[in-house]
């Protein structure tokens, strides 16, 4: 954000805009955003990064999941104006050049999707989830809260419960993530 940018003026009809610099997939984007803009809309409508999908737009389906400073979040509930010094990673940024991310390869190998609409969110969520588990974070199904978790299928299901798949590819999604986790 531009230092002391005056964003305090308000009247009922005029949009309030803020200039900021967004960092997405290690690219810098100087951009002027409406304070009402969510990260999901900025990515899709302004930056032409349409990997993150709009499903419910209420934080319930997970199709919009991206990583902010390496943590998975719902981009439909994140106001872009809050993100000026954060590093954002979308599904477009997961691959290493032409080499897909191991989770992307595993999703293909395990046929972990049908229509594919939820897949970008599933992938970003899984990347964040594996980092959480590697950091020793428990889940509510972890048998011993004080011990490091072991990522069995129950753990994967619980930790991925913020991502819905209306095609019902869950069995293969769990298998794909499990292969990378173990």
């Amino acid at each position: 954000m531009n230092g002391e940018a005056d964003t305090t003026r308000w009247d009922a009809s005029t949009p309030v805009t803020v200039d900021l610099r967004l960092s997405v997939n290690r690219d810098e984007y100087p951009i002027t955003v409406d304070t009402r803009e969510t990260l999901l809309d900025t990515l899709r409508e302004r930056l032409d990064l349409t990997g993150a999908k709009k499903g419910c737009d209420h934080g319930q389906c997970g199709a919009c999941t991206v990583l902010v400073d390496g943590r998975r979040v719902k981009s439909c509930l994140t106001l872009t104006v809050t993100l000026d010094d954060r590093e954002i990673t979308t599904v477009e940024g997961l691959a290493d050049g032409d080499a897909p991310h191991p989770l992307q390869t595993a999703f293909v190998d395990h046929d972990a999707f049908q229509c594919g609409y939820c897949t970008p969110g599933q992938l970003c969520s899984a990347v964040g989830m594996l980092a959480e588990a590697a950091a020793g974070w428990p889940s509510v199904v972890t048998p011993d809260m004080s011990a490091a978790p072991r990522l069995d299928d129950d753990e994967i299901r619980e930790r991925m419960s913020g991502n819905l798949c209306r095609c019902g590819a869950y069995v293969n999604i769990v298998a794909a993530i499990g292969e990378v986790a173990r």
Partner: protein
């Protein structure tokens, strides 16, 4: 969504001052509930004061043996904290029972306490709701109230408080640190939230402009033997139908002390003081646990469609206490 101004506060006093200057301004934490409510048209603030960078994202041990948790601590960091997991397992379990991994990464401790009810009438601006629009009526009383309150509700409002974390904090007797227009003060849970009475639009005892800066857990060694159990309509990512936070101190087969609170039953995280009183000094047996549950639930006044919550709550409490009593 209506246009709004955005400001970022760097300390609590500046945040409180910023809110005082702007009519109809609100604090922005993780935004997981607020942004959704703005999109639904339930609230339309003229300004948001972002308090996520107010220096309060730390968890510190206190001189008295408790834990001081900054209001900006993300739910996921709270649940993963080694001291929380070891000394207050029911708090870690409660937080991990709520929402999803993505939401917990965003949601703050302060925002979690101040989230609004998920009563469908409150969230639907085409319907009357005394909480959203005082005096407009409560369609839930004769409408869809299967998952609404059975205790402490009023004719004006039968909503429930949605937080899991708050249930554990209420059971622990957590002290909520508040910065307000007249300085700093503390409010002890369960006293932060209020029953609806005739003013269901007021969820808490906080005044306009008050900012939660931290929550302080008391030293409570027996909370190392505690547990949060949540019953919901699906296995994960759903609000509680009924939940129980309980800590049990048993010596020689007798309950020396205990802490019990319920979620999903009331407009507040419901501290079960009558059940606690009934249990202290009693044998740690299933029969006594059931007696304690009945002592509390005698006050329940279920609605036509949610009477099932009374026996469900009783069973969940008895099961949870029995497991705790059997834990070495």
């Amino acid at each position: 969504m209506r246009p709004f101004a955005y400001r970022r506060a760097t300390d609590a006093r500046a945040a409180v001052a910023a809110l005082s200057e702007q009519p109809n301004a609100m604090y922005l934490g993780g935004g997981t509930n607020l942004v959704d409510l703005m999109r639904l048209g339930v609230i339309a603030p003229e300004a948001l004061v972002d308090v996520t960078r107010v220096a309060s994202d730390t968890v510190e041990e206190t001189a008295g043996g408790g834990l001081l948790i900054g209001a900006g601590v993300r739910n996921s960091d709270l649940a993963a904290h080694p001291v929380v997991r070891r000394r207050y397992p029911m708090l870690a379990q409660a937080v991990l029972s709520g929402a999803s991994g993505q939401i917990r990464n965003m949601a703050t401790v302060g925002g979690n306490l101040l989230q609004r009810t998920r009563c469908s009438y409150f969230q639907d601006v085409s319907k009357p709701c005394n909480k959203r629009q005082p005096g407009s009526g409560c369609p839930a009383v004769e409408g869809d109230h299967r998952n609404l309150a059975i205790i402490g509700h009023s004719a004006a409002c039968v909503a429930t408080h949605p937080s899991d974390m708050a249930v554990a904090l209420a059971a622990l007797g957590t002290s909520v640190h508040v910065e307000g227009r007249h300085g700093a003060r503390q409010v002890t849970m369960p006293g932060l939230h209020r029953l609806p009475g005739g003013e269901p639009d007021r969820d808490t005892v906080l005044d306009p402009g008050d900012l939660i800066t931290a929550v302080e857990l008391p030293a409570l060694p027996f909370a190392a033997r505690s547990r949060y159990r949540k019953v919901r309509d699906r296995a994960s990512f759903a609000f509680a139908v009924v939940s129980v936070a309980a800590a049990l101190d048993v010596a020689g087969g007798v309950v020396r002390d205990c802490r019990i609170a319920f979620g999903g039953l009331a407009h507040v995280p419901w501290r079960a003081e009558l059940a606690e009183e009934a249990l202290r000094g009693s044998p740690a047996t299933e029969a006594e646990f059931a007696r304690a549950a009945d002592a509390e639930l005698a006050r329940a006044r279920p609605l036509p469609e949610n009477g099932f919550k009374v026996p469900l709550t009783r069973n969940v409490l008895v099961r949870t206490l029995t497991e705790l009593a059997e834990t070495p």
